[in-house]
Symmetry: D2
Subunit: 397 residues, 4 copies
């Protein structure tokens, strides 16, 4: 694939480092930036033939097969519209929009234009995550009851993130978009998210947007997708997911505890581990940062899907659903109420009622619990089907 | 100290195992149980002279210095009242009451009677927790922004826990009482908890009470004390706490990952690690369970406080505050609103307004963030004090 | 018990902190130090009535039930002899002697005198270790094949450790004594250690003794007890044990990774975690250091054994065996040969030959391995009983 | 690159899975196997045009740029010779030879032929390892004193591994080759390995080769490269490395503890995590197994080096040195002596004497240690430059 890159900042470089590594087939061939210097520097660093300060020119270059949007949030819509108009396949970084309305317009545009559109939600492509979802789909955890996705670090890299107008919000829009989609993948994308309760505050930084938020996303089947996002964390980048199912548990730690511990007095020559907040003492680097963050597997899925004419794992529709959930989260943080999630175009299942899976002990009782006590006694805790009364039966050891 | 034990169940045995170990001075001398057989068995197991089915007789035994209440929740009040009447020092297991009203009556009774009263909140006495609180109090983490305490396992040991009438609730009352008090200790007991948002559901078990709940407790200074409690967890007993402060982070794992990993094929002779859900494969025992759960340090504090005529770390007042917070949590789970925490007798601080600690970069700007990018550039993100506009200044490497 | 403490240095204080805590019955009543100031300071700090610069006077004080020797290694023998003469029970810190000859004289003296004698090998009393040994004894790991005990830190606390004459050696005698006895407990104290191969070097410090050593202790049943000891480690105190058995594995981490992670920028008020090499960045404190190092459970076993008139878990005979093994290690480090372990008075088992536990697959073959390949094929690897030829049989998926 | 694959077994499939993934440029075009069925199945599975039971035909196919040898150990030499004759670039799996003599002949052959030759030592290409070596080279750990590389699992996948004639040995040749080269990379490939002490035994399996071994490789600068290898481990695949330097420490865990914990009751649908010994309870999968084992980065280095006409990180010369060290290890396991490492053609440095880095405290003393005691006293431990006597100076708090 020949790729046009829109944007030349932190994320564009991360994408480029991934794409131009490990002997991958696909190449970036040109780059657009609003700033000519940045465009030129990027082109030099990645050996590109062209750079431009015209987005249209970049997209419409004949050789271009696919456009990657690595621009600040407030410029996604314009870029997607340009791709739709040009009929070029488009991959857009996360979040898709600043709001569901914005995302919906992008979704509609790519669907009308009939172009391939992928949502670059990298954290839904980390190798640990992919294998976890595979296990969950295979039933290893039974029915999923709750997921928690946490992303916390000391704050983002560019000015526009900190400006609510350009970004669409603070930690919720920047980090929450990852967490929400992680939860959807585990709980099942076909299960409808129905309402959100969110707390958000600006606890530390001199900004208007929230730098810390926690939310509960309730799904139609009773499952909860929790997210915890913060720009106030000290100690590096905290990236953890947890899943609870009726038959099992998954705990993922994607950054600070991955089996790589290093201590240095700092007296040796300097080596700064990325995103660490110090360069001495105990440090926890990751082996290959792009890999741990899911970039290689993400681009592989996108380009393979294009090749095969099928949908990627993460689509613009997914991006729209994420924005719809985040819209409700922002509302809830203001209203302090559980806010309904408004989805114009629900494509998943509709569940009529919550199912229960009570275990029958015998004709008379449900089994609540069976356990062996420290003294060896065996205990059954039972609930009468008729009266609801709870009793216990102990068999002495 | 000569100790009277009220109750002979799981927790009474845990307490007794702790007290009659490690060559400790204080002894249990008699035991009360509603069931004569259980009382007798307990007396035999711990070498006690007396057992009784009369609570009054047990409390009023002349030799008794202090009474430990290890009864189901619905019997705490009656037992505390009997101690107050008898003028005997009393230590009551957690939670203090099923409701704040119940707890308040107990608090008032012991204060009127002028007796020593300790709240047996063991998880606020684990050695890791004690050292963590010491660090936090010493300022190592700066101002505390958020705490999370999580307790989750497959469900409790006795029938009465599962019966809402007797217990006062499900996972919230059983486990949330620990978590709430852990949060208070980190955030500061003098900081007033103001409101609670709680989600609760009965996801798995055939019971009326909740078997899974998550809540956010908001404190007057803006800090959040989160709790996650569940009787639906698979994999053992998950006991974790986290603290975020402006200058640091604490992560505690008190049970499943404490530096003790064991794999067994199960072909050798059988050894069941406690609370583990299996006896083969990878198991994660703890060394000395009572110690990891805080029992020895808790009783040491209680008896030392009695000796010295001072208050223990955890008092009936603390127990009352915990119940007040849980009352709001139960209300919130029903109303789906942030519910105010009603405290009749607030003894801590009252804060007039939330303070900010913005860092001034120069006369014109606040500093939002300073960082070194992967390519070596140094970047400042600044906010104009006058206009609020966010800008960045990059010094190329 | 009334305890006389000989010595007032680092280890004496650790013992005293343990004994005078957690409402324990037994009390130190007097202290001996070669230095009057130190003796006085110790007596003040622990509320003792007496201190003395006369070892004899201290031991012979009428009230004294038991003497604890917390003196430098070269003074153990003199102190043990004085206890034997006085007929007082004695507990001696590790290592027992600087050499097996010294240890043997102490062993003989206490046995002749008929006094209770305990070997204060604290790391064989950590709660994790006690529970591990219990599991191993219960058969959870099958037959033990290999153990590794590792103790490494940046070096000890007092001058005499660094002086070979007084200490008897460097890291081998200081730390190896722990590791050897840990290995013996797992492999079985009744299994005879037969020979040792040891590498030792002085890699960093300006001293005559070794500051780093690794040894393999071979037991009669073929098991290997490995030790790794160092005074050159950076990053805190590394205390890890591993055990491999035919049916399982144990991994213990007793200090640096016990479920307690703390990050601090150091900008808050200062709190130095003990033995950490820094006071900012990621730190890994332990909850209750004495507990993690085994002191409380060690003294409990010692005093309970005295009360019951039985042997403690760790005896002077154990201390002698440890010294015999270390003697061979020192020799081996010089000779570069596997050196035989000379034990004058072997009280354990004698094994005639190494047993094998080959699994028979059928009349013709032993089973080497059975496994499922990634493509689903099932593979048997077999060895002909007659010819010794190895074959594989694959059943395609 | 067009690749010819020699071999169609476990490792050939692992290589192919890596090469034909992640949109990599280079393709396998044909395969050789001694068994026509296996060759055909492999060709089908990976979409190859050709398969053959003739090694020569496969190598000499005109389109082939590079040959990958994935054959049992005893067939490496023949295959390398065929590549040399054909003048085709060759990549050989580990170990290079069964003995140094065999490896030397292969080295000589490829050097005479002037062909590109790469040594497929994957574990020296894991992302964690690459970043660790980068840190070590940058000086973060000061001078390296000791490394330990450990690989242990329940045994290999094919019959020939278990047959000493074909494999050249047991766990030492199979796993030790990885560990030795890991140590060399950390200590420095230019530092000459001089002698080896090795213990080896057949503790569990009915085979002639060793199933468990531990060795110390001594380098000319005093550093020790330790390896621990076993086919008797229970619990999965244990892959850990440790490095100690004068200024720091590295701990790598590449398989069983990488931030991915899963618990499953096994009641859900089945999903078997690879190499795990069970499919219920706590499991520790890795995200992308090939990546964690270094395959993608290894092939990238190999093909990039070919493109640029430079040497890869791991060469046949490295493979030869590894075999020379393992030869000494086998000898030592028999002789029970430290055996010298015989290298015919040493291309690294020769060090005249071991350097010391004593820290001078003042004119009179070396500094041994400076520390703060728990009671706040500051203590200096010093050694007289003149007399060697060790003293301590304490400044009371």
């Amino acid at each position: 694939m020949n790729i046009a890159m829109l944007g030349s900042g932190f994320i564009a470089r991360f994408y480029a480092d991934t794409l131009h590594a490990q002997r991958r087939l696909d190449r970036i061939i040109n780059v657009y930036s609003r700033n000519a210097d940045n465009a030129e520097r990027f082109a030099q660093d990645y050996g590109l033939d062209c750079f431009s300060t015209s987005m249209e020119e970049t997209i419409n270059s004949e050789k271009v097969d696919v456009v990657i949007i690595s621009l600040p949030n407030h410029l996604h819509e314009e870029a997607v519209m340009a791709c739709a108009e040009a009929g070029k396949a488009v991959l857009c970084t996360k979040p898709l929009g600043r709001t569901a309305a914005e995302a919906k317009r992008m979704l509609d545009a790519v669907e009308s234009a009939g172009i391939f559109a992928g949502y670059l939600e990298d954290l839904c492509y980390t190798p640990k995550f992919l294998k976890s979802v595979e296990s969950v789909n295979a039933g290893s955890l039974g029915k999923i009851l709750w997921t928690k996705s946490r992303e916390a670090h000391p704050g983002p890299h560019s000015d526009w993130f900190w400006d609510k107008e350009q970004s669409g919000g603070g930690a919720i829009i920047d980090l929450g978009c990852h967490c929400v989609e992680i939860g959807r993948n585990f709980i099942g994308k076909s299960v409808r998210p129905v309402e959100v309760m969110c707390w958000a505050d600006t606890q530390v930084h001199p900004i208007d947007a929230e730098d810390h938020a926690i939310a509960l996303v309730k799904y139609e089947n009773g499952a909860i997708g929790q997210f915890e996002v913060s720009w106030t964390f000290r100690g590096g980048m905290d990236l953890r997911d947890e899943v609870m199912g009726t038959e099992g548990t998954i705990w993922l730690n994607s950054f600070l505890r991955t089996g790589f511990d290093m201590f240095t007095t700092g007296k040796g020559a300097k080596y700064v581990a990325e995103k660490a907040e110090s360069d001495s003492g105990w440090l926890f680097p990751v082996g290959d940062e792009a890999h741990e963050l899911g970039y290689p597997h993400m681009f592989t899925d996108m380009f393979d899907a294009m090749d095969k004419g099928k949908e990627p794992r993460e689509t613009f529709y997914d991006g729209y659903i994420v924005n719809a959930i985040l819209d409700a989260a922002f509302l809830s943080a203001e209203s302090k109420l559980w806010e309904p999630i408004k989805i114009d175009d629900w494509r998943g299942d509709n569940i009529s009622e919550k199912e229960t899976n009570y275990i029958s002990h015998d004709a008379e009782y449900y089994l609540i619990k069976k356990e062996t006590l420290p003294n060896g006694d065996e205990k059954l805790i039972l609930k009468s089907k008729a009266t609801g009364k709870v009793i216990q039966k102990t068999t002495r050891n």
